[in-house]
Assembly symmetry: C2
Homo-oligomer: 176 residues x 2
């Protein structure tokens, strides 16, 4: 079964987790919530959506997953203050496996040093950070660059899901 | 009377506002709270400390102030999604007036394009952003570079206040 790692911490943007998570589950993918502390319940910053952490980032191995989802909100900034989540994202990118990052999600890609030379988008407050990090910032609802899918904000969720599912299906077809 | 602009928005780090604000008031400085909407009350992310906004950033003029304080927390990232706060910080830096930024405060300096070639510190999650923005990141409790005072986190507050007050006194002595 295809497994998707969801890298998530406290104060995530509820809809940027719930929307893609539901769509991926509906499409038959299994989600594993990777965070700072196994068993901990983190909540969204607006509707306090609860998410229980299944696995600590320190022990997560990209080889066990087929894709990585990084919801936005304050979660990415909280996670990137720790080594485990940054290492996990870095390894995912180095293996060219599908990475889906929305809103503040690209903050983790910046800390992993993996936006250099890439086309990407993100929440408007990150525009300067993304450009300084060496990426070509594109102001579009979804930007697909090789293994990387990025979007800007909650209103981009439908386009973000569509592009992510398309990439997952392509990877599944290739593996079959 | 010497006026200090405090650039502040929702979900600021309570102690990074309260500590310096009290110290500046005790030293005889007047604080003007600059934010997104005049009259609005914004609150801290931990203790929900209330702060009423005195002036909108869109209408704030650095010439009316002697220094700028930027507390951390989620406030700087919320503010830098808007043009007014970024323009205000940019103009402050261009006039070489004292700017005191702690924790996530440097995010506003990055968006203003004003960290290039500077020595600075900030919250650990911003290390990469600060370096990518062209600054020399220094992992110390307080870094003073010309008009700019930066610190990393709440535990640095005493050193941050001491360096900021020293700079304010020097500016006051020079003006007298």
């Amino acid at each position: 079964m295809t497994q998707i790692a969801v890298l998530i911490g406290k104060d995530f943007e509820d809809s940027e987790y719930s929307g893609p998570a539901q769509a991926f589950k509906d499409a038959g993918y299994r989600l594993v919530h990777v965070g700072l502390k196994k068993g901990e319940t983190v909540t969204g910053k607006k509707q306090a959506t609860p998410v229980q952490i299944d696995m600590e980032a320190d022990f997560a191995n990209p080889d066990d997953f087929d894709a990585l989802l990084i919801p936005g909100g304050y979660s990415p900034d909280n996670l990137r203050a720790h080594k485990g989540p940054v290492r996990f994202v870095k390894q995912f990118m180095e293996r060219d496996k599908p990475v889906f990052a929305i809103c503040h999600g690209p903050q983790l890609l910046i800390s992993a040093g993996k936006l250099e030379g890439r086309k990407a988008t993100g929440w408007k407050s990150l525009t300067c950070d993304i450009k300084y990090a060496g990426a070509d910032f594109v102001d579009k609802e979804v930007v697909v660059d090789k293994n990387l899918v990025t979007s800007r904000q909650p209103s981009d969720i439908p386009a973000f899901i569509e592009a992510s599912l398309k990439m997952l299906e392509a990877a599944r077809a290739k593996a079959a």
